[in-house]
């Protein structure tokens, strides 16, 4: 039996896969002050469902996978270790200057982002290495010793070392590591060249600083998690979800905690890929709709695109790490998004959200502002009596009142028109988020399936798909806990990289091939170490490449053999042109191609993939009829159907509302739908 949990802001999701390949899901409230307690609560629910004690239940499990926002929360809230940063002398403002850029040149209310390690804890070290690895200025060891003495007096709890061109020659960073071992024994440190070998010193230094700062906290957290599971009889392997969409052993994560900042959402596309593939699709757009945020990720030809530009806050107005991370774009849109009309008459929905507390007006928990959920109630998309399987009764009167006050009256619309307007604007916002990532990753949206996950996905995904010209929309069985499901489908994974500079203009690619060999060896070590016993394993290489003088690189895959002959280099050049054209619609076949860095990813699948079907949940609600207002069709009678009672492989015509205990799927009169043998609902918008 394998277990996967994903600790979100509101709920801790649990997915359980038993030996027969059946999956069941559970949700318990997150306990912010003790996230592991929320995990244990979810596990208790699963144990109770089987009539077992928690210890017996955990004793049967072989693997426990954990997704957590604990590291990210600590970074955002600044609850990390007192950290010092050592940089090359003369470059003390690396973190402060960032790479420039600003989201809105006219918004003077936004404060400039503060560096993660303040200037007074950033120290210049006399040394300099050049881009070819040669030493321009030798390391002044006595100056380093003096600095380390100073750190002791400052009661520094963690140290990051990130020198210019340490990626070309790590000698100085390695020597400083020895001096830290001697001078500050027991204080954890992170070396930039080891953690993030990118030729972008700000990203490398920032990743090193945040990693060092997280180490004390995340070591404690991982030890606490593992210990408490062991106390309850668990004797299997504890794995953690990484931002790269893979798994790492908890003990390894304690050393490189910065790799799990986006733990959780990063594996939603892993689940999406599985469900798209079951439905016969190679490319997919995965949209996870919660109460507050709308997270979009992709699968392109079976691969999940990664980015090295994940921002820790608002893009351009915050910081980035430059570590390979599953590309996920989030906007403030969801069931709780607040609708308003400004004084000049423009309707906006979000990014502000009423969240779960006070929540939409119809929740009756003190929220009074009109939200997307209120609009769904007014349109009849949501049934006040059966929301969340009847666990929360909604106040339809409050919803209508809020919508009229905030939107209907200012725009002179009736309640149904106003509700439809809110839905339409939020749909467009979500479409824009999808178009941004689709453009950035060069995906042809019209040929992809849209996978809807999260509690609010069913409200408008049909409209989103139609607006984007997407012909197939999937609602997976596990859609309400897409990340926990994705965790069960994830592989053990590690990324290795190195900086190199080569052009197709000159044919001496020995240094590139040497790097490829080194990375391949690192991947094989991983296979033999953490990956031992894998049922299958795969090593993939990508080059970060560009046309001459371009600054932004694109990832172009190449074979493990590297570049042994001119033909291989020419093949790579051709592949680059094709990739450039796919991403940006243009190519420049006359231009040479340059490689700036090489990365390798090793993925080890640790268990054979089973049928991965949901355990059928017990149902009570009967099929009925509801009056629903569909934009463009007026108010019509729609069938209300219990999803798991639908016969397999039979197409139905809209309108209909499909209910599950976690969500409602709205099928408008123009759409058709079917329940596949896989248990997933497919909609033809």
């Amino acid at each position: 039996m394998r277990l996967a949990t994903d600790t979100g802001g509101t709920f801790t999701d649990l997915a359980v896969e038993t030996a027969d390949g059946l999956v069941s899901i559970f949700k318990a409230p997150t306990v912010p002050e003790d996230p592991v307690q929320g995990v244990l609560d979810a596990l208790q629910l699963a144990a109770d469902a089987g009539g077992e004690t928690l210890d017996d239940f955990l004793g049967r499990a072989s693997v426990f996978i954990h997704g957590t926002t604990h590291a990210l929360n600590a970074v955002v809230e600044g609850q990390t270790a007192r950290t010092a940063l050592l940089v090359t002398q003369g470059h003390r403002d690396i973190l402060l200057l960032r790479e420039g850029g600003r989201a809105d040149p006219f918004d003077h209310r936004q404060a400039y982002p503060v560096p993660y390690v303040p200037r007074h804890l950033t120290f210049g070290v006399p040394e300099r290495i050049l881009h070819d690895g040669s030493i321009h200025l030798p390391l002044d060891e006595s100056a380093v010793r003096d600095t380390i003495d100073g750190l002791r007096k400052l009661e520094i709890e963690a140290v990051a070392v990130s020198l210019l061109w340490s990626i070309a020659n790590p000698a100085h960073e390695l020597r400083i590591a020895q001096l830290l071992d001697a001078g500050l024994p027991g204080v954890p440190y992170t070396l930039g060249h080891r953690l993030n070998p990118t030729p972008r010193e700000y990203r490398r230094a920032n990743a090193a600083a945040i990693n060092a700062a997280l180490r004390p906290l995340m070591s404690r957290y991982m030890a606490g998690l593992t210990g408490r599971l062991r106390d309850h009889g668990f004797s299997g392997r504890v794995l953690v979800l990484t931002s790269g969409g893979g798994l790492l052993d908890a003990a390894d994560v304690a050393g490189e905690p910065v790799r799990i900042l986006n733990s959780g959402p990063s594996v939603a596309p892993v689940a999406g890929r599985h469900y798209a593939s079951v439905a016969g699709a190679e490319s997919a757009i995965i949209a996870d709709t919660g109460g507050t945020t709308y997270d979009v990720s992709l699968v392109r030809e079976g691969r999940i695109p990664v980015t090295q530009e994940m921002w820790l806050g608002t893009p351009l107005n915050s910081h980035l790490l430059g570590l390979p991370t599953v590309d996920i774009r989030s906007i403030g849109a969801g069931g709780g998004s607040i609708a308003s009309v400004d004084a000049a008459g423009l309707l906006r929905v979000g990014p502000q959200s009423a969240g779960a507390r006070p929540g939409p007006a119809c929740y009756g928990r003190g929220g009074s502002r009109a939200t997307v959920t209120d609009a769904a109630v007014v349109l009849g998309f949501l049934d006040p009596e059966s929301f969340l399987g009847g666990r929360l009764r909604l106040d339809a009167g409050a919803a209508e009142q809020a919508i009229m006050r905030d939107v209907g009256d200012p725009l002179r619309l009736d309640p149904v028109e106003a509700a439809a307007a809110i839905l339409k604007v939020t749909t467009e916002n979500m479409v824009q988020a999808i178009e941004d990532i689709v453009l950035a990753q060069g995906l042809d949206a019209g040929r992809a399936v849209l996978v809807g996950g999260g509690g609010a996905a069913g409200l408008n995904s049909v409209y989103i798909a139609r607006r984007l010209g997407i012909r197939r929309l999937l609602f997976p069985e596990t859609g309400a806990t897409l990340s926990a499901a994705g965790a069960l489908l994830s592989d053990l994974k590690a990324d290795y990289g190195g900086s190199v500079f080569a052009s197709t203009r000159d044919m001496d690619w020995a240094t590139v091939n040497a790097l490829v060999s080194r990375l391949a060896a690192q991947c094989r070590d991983f296979e033999a170490g953490p990956g031992e016993g894998a049922v299958s394993s795969e090593i993939r290489f990508v080059a970060e490449a560009r046309y001459e003088n371009q600054v932004w690189c694109i990832d172009v895959p190449f074979d493990a053999v590297g570049f042994p002959d001119p033909a291989a280099i020419e093949r790579f050049r051709t592949a680059f042109h094709a990739a450039h054209k796919a991403l940006f619609t243009i190519e420049d076949p006359r231009s040479e191609v340059e490689i700036v860095a090489v990365r390798a990813t090793v993925a080890c699948r640790m268990s054979a993939r089973g049928q991965f079907r949901m355990t059928e949940y017990p149902t009570s609600a009967a099929i009925g009829i509801r009056q629903v207002s569909f934009p463009g069709y007026g108010t019509v009678a729609a069938s209300v159907l219990q999803t798991d009672r639908l016969p397999f492989d039979k197409w139905h015509e809209g309108p209909a509302i499909l209910e599950t205990p976690f969500t409602s799927i709205v099928i408008d009169p123009a759409a058709r739908f079917v329940r596949h043998g896989s248990g997933n609902i497919e909609v033809a918008p």
């Binding site: 006219f106 007074h120 300099r128 010193e201 309707l347 725009l411 307007a421 203009r505 003088n549 940006f584």
Partner: protein, 602 residues
């Protein structure tokens, strides 16, 4: 047929047009070749109506777009009365609506199936080179256009039926330095324009051209309503502020004073910026194009307003910018050179405008942003033995310069007021990888921030030089004699400066505008300008001052003398600070009575 737009459509179509401009920008950013384009983000993508009115500016560089794309589109229509699908035009003429010659723009008319011209998309990208007589695109000492030497394209057809007119391409390749790089930038810019054209055609086929016309009218009206409300909320008043550009070859010895007179009429919901009381065009490259003169004034205005007001022809209806012909901050007369129009005098116009706002009332306007262009953001050229080839490129090693507003301390990396901070800053490693240079130092300079209750940015010092072969560095640095000034009692930012340290140990100060040859071992020391503060420094949060002292950005002596904050080795001394500040408050009150706070001072 409906004549009024459905209010929901207003939101949805506004979002879709923004999305189209964003799509164009993202494409251009990712595919451009020269550093100025893809590192400094020195480009813009926007959409203009068939009537020649600016509709959407996207995520553009401010000085590029608030006015100019409209003027360029109109000149394209005037020169080419018959526009066909598949046409594309090159435009960089500062005498016909472009900002300056280096901002080579591509205009694509969006033509419907009936052959009617419906909209124009504009993609404008600053070039690494535009064929000037010297390897720089900011030739401050050009006595006229002929000396400047730029290729000028006043809306010249470069594509018909989606195919290049090869004559034009060949002309460019013969005259522009590093032609492969230019061609790469041309393809990227054209690609962005075509993506915008395609997206608009798709949108029109979905909703119809009539609906799009209803939308543009409604969107302009909405934007105007937002602007009316914003102006109505401002205090009535008039003020004139002057911001002086340092002397350069071709200017008077005392420099170039730039005056902006503004008046705010909340009753009539109108703002007037008058730039007519400024010197005539001069025999130098600093003259503004009409596009830059208008835009710089509008930047000063929008820097003083709610940032969410859409910037388009609708909101600009409430702002009248008065210009005159043959004026250095007005409408240039050919062949006056506008080589450096987007930076130097433009920055003085915007700074004078926003300081004039601040002079009218507390809480509005903005201090002066530091001037450019220091050698750290200069154009470097030479020969790279690693590739065996010549190179010319603008580097962006960084400039700070941000100015304070009443609401917030400065954004550190604003670069200059016309840029607003959207530029990226080059990484040291990538710059060393791509060019044969070594960057020895890049750090902020202590005690150079514009002190104020809200503080301006400190100066940035960058020291760099060639590795194995000589390089040339060209720049036009303003802000040494006239550093950015503070407003409402705020102090000025640190002055700019530049030196060279020769390999033989000698040391010399460099002129404000030069092309400097550096031999291996020589180092150029570039000190960028700081930005001005807003409000009296003695009213600054004492904790913020103590933190700046701890960070090494403000000395203890300056903390005490300027901010009246006492910081010891143990940190902030609150009682001593309280006592020191209590004495000052009485003194300050007297100054206020004397009206001293309204005079910008250094």
């Amino acid at each position: 047929m409906r004549t009024e737009l459905d209010p929901v459509r207003l939101s949805v179509l506004a979002s879709r047009f923004d999305g189209i401009a964003r799509k164009m920008s993202n494409t251009l950013l990712r595919t451009g070749r020269s550093g100025v384009l893809n590192r400094a983000k020195d480009f813009s993508c926007c959409i203009v109506t068939a009537g020649g009115e600016l509709l959407v500016t996207g995520e553009s560089l401010p000085i590029h777009v608030l006015s100019g794309p409209d003027l360029m589109a109109r000149s394209m229509m005037a020169f080419h009365p018959r526009l066909n699908r598949g046409d594309a035009f090159l435009h960089n003429s500062p005498y016909h609506g472009c900002s300056h010659a280096a901002d080579l723009s591509i205009l694509v008319p969006v033509v419907d199936a009936q052959g009617i011209h419906r909209m124009t998309v504009v993609a404008k990208a600053h070039q690494a080179d535009i064929g000037n007589s010297q390897p720089t695109t900011y030739m401050g000492d050009a006595v006229d256009l002929y000396h400047e030497g730029a290729l000028i394209f006043p809306a010249v057809a470069v594509q018909r039926d989606h195919a290049d007119i090869e004559d034009i391409i060949r002309m460019c390749e013969m005259r522009i330095r590093v032609p492969e790089q230019w061609r790469g930038d041309y393809l990227a810019t054209l690609g962005a324009a075509r993506i915008g054209e395609q997206a608009i055609l798709e949108l029109a086929s979905e909703v119809g051209w009539e609906e799009l016309e209803r939308f543009t009218a409604a969107w302009f009206d909405y934007s105007e309503r937002r602007m009316r409300a914003a102006v109505a909320a401002l205090p009535a008043g008039a003020a004139t502020a002057c911001s002086t550009h340092d002397p350069l070859p071709g200017t008077p010895d005392e420099g170039v004073p730039i005056r902006a007179s503004i008046s705010i009429d909340p009753a009539d919901e109108q703002i007037i910026v008058d730039l007519t009381d400024n010197p005539d065009c001069m025999p130098c490259g600093l003259n503004l194009s009409e596009a830059c003169a208008r835009t710089a004034a509008l930047i000063g205005v929008f820097n003083s307003l709610d940032p969410t007001i859409p910037k388009n022809a609708g909101s600009c209806r409430r702002v009248e910018v008065r210009l005159r012909e043959n004026c250095i901050a007005g409408i240039p007369r050919h062949p006056a050179s506008c080589s450096a129009a987007t930076t130097n005098i433009s920055d003085r116009v915007a700074n004078a405008t926003q300081s004039a706002f601040a002079a009218i009332a507390d809480g509005i306007g903005m201090a002066e942003v530091g001037a450019v262009t220091a050698p750290s953001d200069g154009v470097i050229s030479g020969w790279d033995r690693r590739t065996g080839r010549a190179f010319v490129n603008q580097v962006f090693l960084g400039s700070t310069g941000g100015a304070a507003t009443a609401a917030q301390d400065a954004w550190l990396t604003v670069s200059h007021v016309g840029n607003g901070g959207v530029s990226f800053i080059d990484g040291v490693e990538l710059d060393e990888l791509y060019h044969p240079i070594l960057i020895h130092e890049r750090e902020l300079v202590v005690d150079t921030e514009g002190a104020g209750s809200r503080a301006g940015a400190p100066s940035l010092r960058v020291i760099f030089g060639p590795t194995l072969d000589p390089i040339d560095v060209a720049y036009v640095a303003d802000g040494h004699h006239n550093p950015a000034r503070g407003v409402r009692g705020g102090l000025g930012g640190g002055p700019s400066d530049q030196h060279v340290r020769r390999v033989d140990g000698s040391h010399e100060r460099l002129p404000a505008c030069a092309q400097v040859r550096l031999e291996p071992g020589d180092l150029i020391v570039s000190i960028g300008a700081g930005g001005g503060g807003y409000g009296p420094p003695v009213e600054r949060d004492m904790q913020a001052v103590a933190e700046a002292v701890l960070a090494g950005l403000v000395s203890r002596e300056r903390a005490r003398a300027v901010y009246h904050v006492v910081v010891t080795e143990n940190g902030l001394d609150k009682p001593a600070t309280g006592a020191l500040r209590a004495g000052v408050r009485t003194e300050l009150a007297q100054h206020v009575l004397a009206g001293a706070r309204n005079a910008p001072d250094r």
